[in-house]
Amino acid sequence: MLKQSLKIFASTWLLASTTNADEIDVSGAIGVELNNYLHQPQFTNQSTRTTQPSFFIEPEFGYKIGDNGYAETKLFARYDPYSKARSHFDIRQLDYLYQANNYEFSIGISKVFWGVLESNHLVDIINQYDQLEDVDNEDRLGQPMLQTAYFSDYGTFRLFYLPYFREPDFLDKTSRLRPQFIANNNALYEGNAKQWQPSFAARYTHVLGNFDIGLSHFSGINRAPSFVTNTSGIQPYYQNIQQTGIDIQYTNDDYLLKLEAIGNNGYSRYYTAFGTGIEYSFYNINDTGLDIGLLAEYHFDDRPEDAPTTTLQNDIFIGTRLALNDEDDTTLLAGGMYDTDNDSIFYTAEAQTRFNNDFTINIDARLFNNIPQNEFTNFLNKDDFIRVTLTKWF
């Protein structure tokens, strides 16, 4: 897969190397992560080590090409001695961008972000989740694409052509946080061209006073698979979908109102899902510099049985965000996602601070509370963990 990706984008490299790149900007991060599991694992073959270290590196290279061009490369690699699958490599970005006054285009492996919510990203569909990194769905795989944007007084119009589908890998049998039955990597596709079937997307964004608005449509291979069981075991099955999305944020003095909604056509019936939320902030409390933000989000999803499973059919997220606004940019985000259908709660907390100018330390906790037997995420029940990450930035 990697070889194929490289082949498609050899032209990008060629362009970058033959043009007079005047300045290469190198940066990135290298670090060690300690995963501390609070319980013994649920399934046989899962590693019983309570503390599992792993190592990662994420270098970035930027090259300015002429006045309007920019090539960017961002690589990611992790070595995890306790999970073969989690030891992985990804090209997060390898693209060339050309910017003019009222338009731009890019070619290569890129990442885009759509949406406004914090506890789920509903409309954001271009890039695959990197399911090996974390359970928070914030890490994404690079996606090969041709992208063009047109900027006008009436908003920004973007078109995406996605010639190749990045198939995500799944955790393997020694890994924690894995499902009971592991899907194999022989993915099935609805389309005959399999991952070479192109997908397309269009997006319009505009700022109207206090409203930030986004409208999007995606046509192609769904980023999330359904799973089918047959003689060769459990296989991921990627179907073709049409998905329309809208995202709106209203920004006021001290609160933000957010809405994301999708309509999806591709399964046994058309379905809709939405998420809506409010974020209220208290700034510079008692002139200490401390900001406290309160977040509440609600998620609804009425997808049919044959669509990829979601846990967010009827869920409420309540959280708080603290920023000390000190010279080390110390922050804390903590919250819980409550499933109103089965009373389970997923707790999450993330803290970060900086020291010695180019080191950061992160402490993340994820606790899965009371997930019932019949819920598919029940496999996480014994996987509560606290993760400490030490990162050196360069």
């Binding site: 940066s27 991060a29 930027g62 920019y70 961008l97 910017q99 006054n101 009222n102 731009e104 990442k111 885009v112 972000f113 406004v116 914030e138 944007a149 900027f151 920004t156 964004t205 700022v207 930030d212 944020q249 920004t251 006021n252 003095d253 001290d254 609160y255 933000l256 902030s281 700034y283 510079n284 002139d287 510099g289 900001d291 606004n325 000190d326 010279e327 080390d328 940019d329 900086r354 100018n357 180019d358 950061t360 990162t391 930035w393 360069f394």
Partner: protein, 273 residues
């Protein structure tokens, strides 16, 4: 040829510029004189078009420990005085925040419109900018100290003359009492020293919400650009209550760089560098 060019650029400037004696003769109340002085300073800075500058921020805590930040600023001047300028701050150091960027549309009395770009997520977020009084990245500068200083944001009252030191020379300054007119300011008032030669701010003393002395800001080593626009090489902000200090070093100022208003839009924020 060059002399002619210089004369031509100076003609409108000389025709419009007023000196402090003229202003004092024309405006009799402390309020009208204060406003006239601030407007004169603003007028002399009009027409810079756009500017780019590199900023090094040195934070010193009360134990003398130092941390450094580097960022770049791009400003697009909006000549209409009823709205503020548009600007961008791009972070270069510390390395973990490299590429983070703020886009701000300054307003006069309303909160600014502000967007934040987070490079790791490739995400642009509209943020509430009610937060005027909070510290900017842990420094002694509040957000309101760094947003564009539009005349309409404050009331202006002339309170007397004083001597002041500018680039090593003793000059005469006027003292203005300025009170923020927008909501959520951390200050009850500011006393600003403005030199009567070029109408540049030389020193600002800030009083907190209780009315106590909070901070002192000094503008050090002024340089003139394009024969007209004065910018200080260094801002030094000392917190008189906790002893902390933040110095801003402004380097490599460029004016009329060809930036246009369309570069200062949310949709382009993620490709800013």
């Amino acid at each position: 040829m060059r002399i002619f060019a210089l004369i031509f650029t100076l003609i409108p400037f000389l025709a419009n510029a007023k000196n402090i004696e003229e202003l004092k003769a024309q405006y009799k109340t402390p309020e009208s004189l204060g406003l006239a002085i601030s407007m004169e300073g603003d007028e002399r800075d009009l027409g810079f078009g756009d500017s780019t500058v590199e900023i090094e921020m040195v934070l010193t805590n009360r134990h003398g420990q130092i941390s450094t930040r580097k960022n770049r600023n791009k400003t697009f001047e909006i000549e209409d005085t009823s709205v503020g300028d548009k600007s961008m701050i791009i972070f270069d150091e510390p390395a973990d925040v490299k590429g983070t960027a703020f886009l701000t549309y300054s307003q006069i009395l309303e909160p600014d419109d502000q967007w934040l770009y987070l490079p790791a997520l490739k995400r642009v977020k509209r943020i509430s900018s009610k937060n005027k009084s909070g510290p900017f990245v842990g420094s002694e500068f509040a957000y309101e100290d760094l947003s564009s200083r539009e005349v309409g944001k404050y009331s202006h009252k002339y309170i007397g003359d004083d001597t002041c030191t500018v680039n090593g020379a003793q000059l005469t300054c006027v003292k203005l009492e300025q009170v923020p007119q927008y909501e959520h300011s951390g200050y009850t008032k500011m006393i600003t020293w403005i030199d009567t030669q070029e109408f540049r701010p030389i020193k600002v003393v800030f009083y907190d919400r209780k009315g106590d002395l909070l901070k002192t800001l000094q503008f050090i080593d002024y340089k003139q650009y394009l024969g007209k626009y004065w910018r200080a090489d260094k801002f030094e902000m000392v917190n008189n209550q906790n002893g902390k200090k933040t110095e801003l070093f402004w380097r490599n100022y460029k004016f009329k760089t060809g930036l246009n208003e369309g570069d200062f839009v949310k949709a382009k924020l993620k490709n800013i560098r």
